[in-house]
């Protein structure tokens, strides 16, 4: 988003241009306009706008996009540090958030 910027240079988003077949799915599904189709190939026009939601990677038919999506919830991240990834819970009746 133009008005809302977060930290720069942190996203794990990676686009392998040579694999791109130009279908445009990434441009359609990205909620922040990170991708734009130029000359029948996807180009990352705003890489720092990426929030790692994973929609692009999941919908790329050529597996040209990689990103490690995750929960951006501080409480959950603390749990993974303290309890380890398996034991950290996100959800269930006692969960404070989701």
């Amino acid at each position: 988003m133009k008005d809302f910027r977060y930290l720069e240079g942190v996203t794990t988003l990676d686009l392998k241009e040579e694999k791109c077949i130009g279908c445009g799915a990434c441009e359609t599904v990205c909620p922040h306009g990170v991708f734009k189709m130029e000359n029948k190939k996807a180009v990352m026009v705003d890489k720092d706008g990426c929030m790692e939601c994973g929609a692009c990677a999941l919908n790329c038919p050529a597996s040209a996009i990689q990103v490690t999506p995750g929960v951006g919830c501080a409480a959950y991240i603390i749990q993974t540090w303290v309890k380890g990834k398996e034991a950290a819970s996100c959800g269930g009746e006692k969960a404070a958030c989701c």
Partner: protein
Amino acid sequence: MKENSCCDAGTGTCSSGIQIQPAFPKITEDEVCCGPPAGPPSSPFERPGYRICGFVDNFIELKSGRIPRVKSVLSISDLAGTVMTRIGINRNNYKVAPGLYGIGNPDPDSPVLVTANYKLSFDNVRKELKYTDAWLLVLDTRGINVWCAAGKGTFGTEEVVRSVKAAGLDTIVSHRNLILPQLGATGVSARQVKKECGFQVAWGPIRAADIEKFLNSGMKADQTMRRVTFTAMERLVLIPVEISISLKPMLWIVLVVFILSGIGPDFFSVKAAWTRSLMGVAALAGGVFAGAVLTPAFLPKIPGRAFSIKGAITGILTAAGILLWYRQDAGLLELSALLLFTMAVSSFLAMNFTGTTPFTSPTGVEKEMRRAIPVQIAAVVLAGFAWIGAGFSG
């Protein structure tokens, strides 16, 4: 008029060829031998163990079964439910039954819109479909909204496929198209859905308010329909929940503040605990206000990219007010403790708000946390020592 006579008769067919059955029969005036007339008979659609939801208008009778037609206007009870869930009451169990619903007068050519079974999502979609005939396929996202569920995988490829098959959608519509909210793309692979159930996913707009425009323009979405926003109103509605999830931890902190406030030369003084903990609680409340209210409200205006920094800034401003208020009652050591405490609480809560925003990446949040949490802990520990120390010297 033709529609009304269908409904009254209860057995007629209407213009679309689909039978309309009212959910509840008209009140009749049965004669009774004594006392006031008996009440109306139960709806023929009620089933033992099931209750008909208030948002159901009537039922569409198909060969394969009965599909509830939902209202496109929200009731007082729907609005009350929205308020409750926004405050944080019954938030984890605010759902509708997953499955197929209809809105307007859907027929085999009508579009299929897919959404989550969180009732707020369901209400947000149906209230925007005042002039549309459509089928509404509600996925079992365990009562979670579309985007969060997509992130968790419950608004996912498998659930779409399962729902399509469970509803027998291929016998209800003649086309093979599904319209999914764009934010569902985080959990749904359109290609995989087509492979597994034969239905083609089209990505609809992000906001339900744009659905009718999207459908009427021939399924075209302009750029604003495909971009997520975070307006002031969108931020403000998130504040009550941020506060309500802080309440329980706050109670424990108040207890700790009370105990620390009483420690002094007489081992523990209840009088000191009482007077001093009031200041500590004010600092806590100030920190919560700065981190969970001011920071979300003024988010884009507050300097700093990291939310922990934004929270520290609103924390300082709020602490300034608290320090001014207590400048006669507290010594320098205590005032410093209050400042550190307010800032740390505000910074932590602001950092937590990253999980509620639509533009922070998990990698960025983790980086921010690794830097901020040690500082927040240090500030609180320092504040604690200063507070106890002041109990002996003050």
